[in-house]
């Protein structure tokens, strides 16, 4: 049993006192932490992404990871149109640190916005290079040649196939070619064939047949063994002793490997590994006795006295009240719950080089972190990005990759580490809990006069899951931009104050789909709805009259969603059925509005109708944008009605999905979606509809009960 008292232990970790001590911070700063790459992609980067290969296929090295958001197919469509070919002739390679220049992470719904136009430029440049090379080989002027789906054509007839053209070295372009290229992507509809067409996700053939490796768990290396990490089961707990004597009788158990605080078991079979983990005896010094209520208390905004640490927007003229609406809203801890657990395979070669296969949102951060951890050069580490079985922000840091590499180094064999579901809940990081005090007033005509939103949340971007004490200390005075995301209302108000506190919690919190926008939009859209009820104004009219003039695209999606749902002619709300709507802007780039119809039965609240209008600018692949909208709406339903990650006795409670309910088939109605292209450039769809799904559902519940939903998830009545 622990030798330290709980109280002493609390202080030792710095949780018993306010913040983290400067001593701990100062010491760790000297170590220079590895930071994720931040630079935006350039034409020089793009020149390395696309080439014509000897087999006559165009190969596109993606710099953004596929996690089901559809970027792989989207980029193929973009490239294909510039080259005048079909998508089938564009072979996509998932991000691989040995193939592409350093690229930043796949986050923030930015993959298409940041790389789509560059891929178009690279493809346009390559189209020019292909024509020039063909002209040289054929001895004809470039002007007489055109690109055809299967090669180079003259007067409508293919005279040189891509196979023939590609037989020598791969045909590449330069940074200058990319910079000066004029892609057709943004020029308008003419000539578009692949862009705008609906395609299923790339690799769907292998997904429905199992015919080839896609995910990290599909990698099987010669001599590979399986590893699992011995972890404390309590938050802030510490392993004092490990007894593997019972493991030794498990056939296939290969040993316990330790290095400082790191400890892992290795076995030749996964069943043996699970069995050994089951009979392992650990002595743990337990962390502080925290539960969900204590966490909620740590983020309680109402108990805060004095000014807020960070201001997002302050127009001056703050009202001292009273307010028409004065709400305190709470959002609990929640999990990513990707069905694929974090998984990585690591292999050291005889020269000390390291190769890793993993589904990650940030392969270069993984590479650099591993290189720094093992004291080897960054060019001695190769990270092969695999398809992710769900990302949602969870794969933005280094986790199973480091586990697998450390075990591979210690045991001298290639190692696969696949986190258990319990690891996912207990060793992963989560959406932080937050609380929101939101106070609104309007004049007699329903014009907003005062908007005051103060909130308190665990960290998101400055996640303790990836940052040591030094970085945590260094960022403790800086506003966490992830917490702030989406907190500025799109509504015109005479006086607006938005501010927040970010607090270091004893549970690891970090990026979760939409970051702060998920919670903040729920708060904003709950409040504006409550104001509409208080003023006796229809929630649609309340919003339409309040949306700032510069956000006409928001008004457009809101109007469209209301029309699709028949909002104006909806039946009157009753205790058994209610209608709710919500809208929002994601990262100043994409717009969404949703209407939900919720009915009440013995089993509880059920969403029986869901409509959404969505504007992410130019739509490359309408099918995959729709899929993202559907996904976000289902996440919103989960957030509204189901999800809370409970903590009790200093530990995260769930060990499996039995204890963490997700939306299931019977929870999800048919979903009607309309895509509006409010701009000629593509923006992002991966997180956009998270801004409206949750509040549309809870506002429908409020319409049924007459009471604003103030705590997520809704208690099933």
């Amino acid at each position: 049993m622990p030798s330290l008292s709980r109280r002493r232990f609390l202080i030792a970790l710095g949780w018993g006192v306010a913040g983290i001590t400067a001593v701990a911070g100062g010491a760790a700063w000297a170590l220079m932490p590895t930071l994720p790459p931040r630079n935006a992609p350039t034409p020089a980067d793009a020149s390395a992404w696309l080439s014509l290969r000897p087999d006559g296929f165009f190969e596109l090295y993606s710099s953004r990871a596929e996690m089901g958001q559809g970027i792989s197919m989207g980029l193929r469509q973009v490239a294909a149109d510039e080259l005048g070919i079909g998508v089938d002739r564009v072979r996509l390679v998932q991000p691989d640190t040995s193939l592409i220049p350093v690229a930043r992470s796949t986050v923030g719904s930015d993959a298409m916005r940041e790389t789509g136009v560059l891929v178009a430029r690279a493809a346009a440049a390559l189209a020019g290079a292909v024509l020039r090379e063909a002209a040289r080989r054929l001895g004809r002027p470039v002007a007489k040649l055109q690109l055809a789906p299967d090669g180079i054509a003259s007067r409508g007839e293919t005279i040189l196939t891509f196979e023939e053209l590609g037989t020598d070295a791969p045909l590449l372009v330069t940074a200058e070619d990319v910079e000066t290229a004029t892609p057709g992507l943004l020029a308008g509809l003419d000539g578009r064939r692949e862009v705008g067409r609906a395609y299923p996700t790339y690799d769907i053939d292998a997904i429905v047949t199992g015919s080839r490796p896609l995910y990290a768990d599909d990698i099987r290396l010669q001599g590979m063994v399986f590893g699992a990490i011995v972890r404390p089961q309590t938050l802030g707990g510490r392993i004092l002793g490990i007894d593997v004597s019972a493991c030794r009788s498990v056939p296939g158990f290969l040993g316990l490997y330790r290095d400082g605080d790191f400890a892992g078991l290795v076995a030749s079979r996964r069943g043996a590994l699970a069995q050994a983990m089951g009979v392992l005896v650990i002595e743990e010094e337990e962390g502080p006795d925290i539960d969900s209520a204590a966490l909620a208390g740590m983020v309680d905004i109402v108990g805060q006295s004095g000014g807020l640490e960070h201001s997002v927007l302050d127009t001056g003229g703050a009202s001292a009240g009273p307010f028409d609406v004065d709400l305190t809203l709470t959002v609990p801890l929640a999990a990513h719950a990707s069905i694929e657990p974090r998984t990585a395979v690591a292999r050291f070669d005889e020269n000390g080089g390291l190769e890793v296969w993993t589904g990650t949102q940030d392969p270069f951060f993984v590479r650099d972190s591993l290189a720094d951890a093992f004291g080897i050069g960054r060019d001695e580490v190769v990270v092969h990005g695999m398809r992710m079985g769900g990302g949602f922000g969870a794969r933005t840091i280094v986790a199973a990759e480091m586990d697998a590499a450390r075990l591979a180094r210690l045991c001298g064999r290639p190692v696969k580490v696949q986190w258990s579901r319990s690891d996912e809940f207990r060793a992963g990081f989560h959406r932080p809990p937050s609380s929101h005090q939101i106070r609104l007033s309007a004049d007699a005509a329903g014009r907003l006069t005062s908007w005051h939103h103060a909130f308190r949340s665990g960290h998101i971007i400055f996640t303790s899951a990836a940052m040591g004490p030094g970085l945590q200390f260094g960022t403790s005075f800086v506003a966490d931009p992830g917490v702030a995301r989406g907190s500025v209302p799109p509504y015109a108000t005479q006086a607006t104050q938005v501010g927040f506190e970010d607090v270091r919690l004893p549970v690891k919190t970090g990026p979760w789909r939409g970051l702060g926008a998920a919670a903040n939009h729920w708060a904003v859209e709950t409040a504006i709805d409550a104001l509409a009820r208080a003023k006796g104004i229809d929630p649609l009219d309340m919003r339409l009259k309040s949306i700032k003039r510069e956000h006409s695209r928001l008004s457009a999606v809101l109007t469209a969603a209301a029309e699709m749902a028949g909002w104006r002619s909806r039946p009157e709300d009753s205790p058994d059925q209610g209608w709710g709507l919500a809208c929002g802007i994601y990262k100043d780039m994409s717009y969404a509005a949703a209407v939900a119809r919720v009915t009440r039965s013995d089993a509880g609240y059920r969403v029986t109708g869901l409509w959404c209008a969505h504007d992410c600018g130019l739509v490359i692949n309408p099918d995959q944008v729709r899929a993202q909208v559907e996904g976000n709406l289902v996440w919103g339903m989960g957030m509204a009605l189901k999800e809370e990650l409970f903590v009790d006795g200093g530990r995260i409670l769930p060990e499996s999905f039995f204890d963490y309910p997700l939306p299931v088939l019977s929870d999800v109605p048919d979903i009607e979606i309309r895509l509006i292209e409010g701009s000629h450039e593509p923006t992002g769809a991966g997180e956009t509809a998270i801004v409206c799904g949750t509040a549309a559902v809870t506002n429908a519940v409020a319409a049924m009960t007459g009471r604003t939903v103030t705590a997520l998830p809704v208690k099933q009545a």
Binding site: A206, A627, L662, D667
Partner: protein, 155 residues
């Protein structure tokens, strides 16, 4: 011991008989279809069909499959033709990340093989047990309906 795996006889070494069937399928036979999601039967990503019954292979002891017919995602297509459920999954563009879809397809396949005209409540009762985090549910419902009509048409 011996099993029939995707219509072929397969021998298993003795040391594997106590391994969960999922790990034997993935690590011994090298199959990609059945996937690990939770290890305790709470998500369904590992679903395979044993003697016509959908089973969670992560908690199904390999010894229990002795002399039984095990069908995995890899065994659904025959003579180069996808099964109507797989076909429907492509036509409705169901997968997002794709990781859970083995379980969705195998559970739907087993259901429709036993109850071709299963109604909405029956479909929900089965499919609610197979989790999807991406939110493909509405498409799963459509794909099952499409597979049902295709299978009825073929019959």
């Amino acid at each position: 011991m011996r099993i029939t795996l995707n219509r072929q006889t397969a021998e298993l070494p003795d040391e594997l008989v106590e391994e969960p069937l999922l790990f034997v399928l993935r690590d011994h036979f090298g199959l990609n279809g059945p996937r690990f999601g939770c290890g305790v039967g709470s998500c369904g990503a590992c679903t395979v069909v044993v003697d016509g019954q959908a089973q969670r292979s992560c908690v199904y002891p390999t010894s229990a499959a002795d002399r039984r017919e095990v069908l995995t995602l890899e065994g659904l297509a025959q003579r180069g033709r996808l099964h109507p459920v797989q076909q429907a999954w492509i036509e409705e563009s169901v997968p997002q990340c794709g990781y859970c879809q083995n379980g969705q397809i195998m559970a739907a396949f087993a259901l429709l093989a036993a109850r071709p005209d299963a109604g909405p409540a029956e479909i929900e009762a089965v499919m609610d047990g197979v989790l999807c985090r991406c939110g493909t549910h509405a498409r799963i419902r459509k794909a099952i309906a499409r597979a049902q009509s295709r299978m009825a048409g073929d019959a």
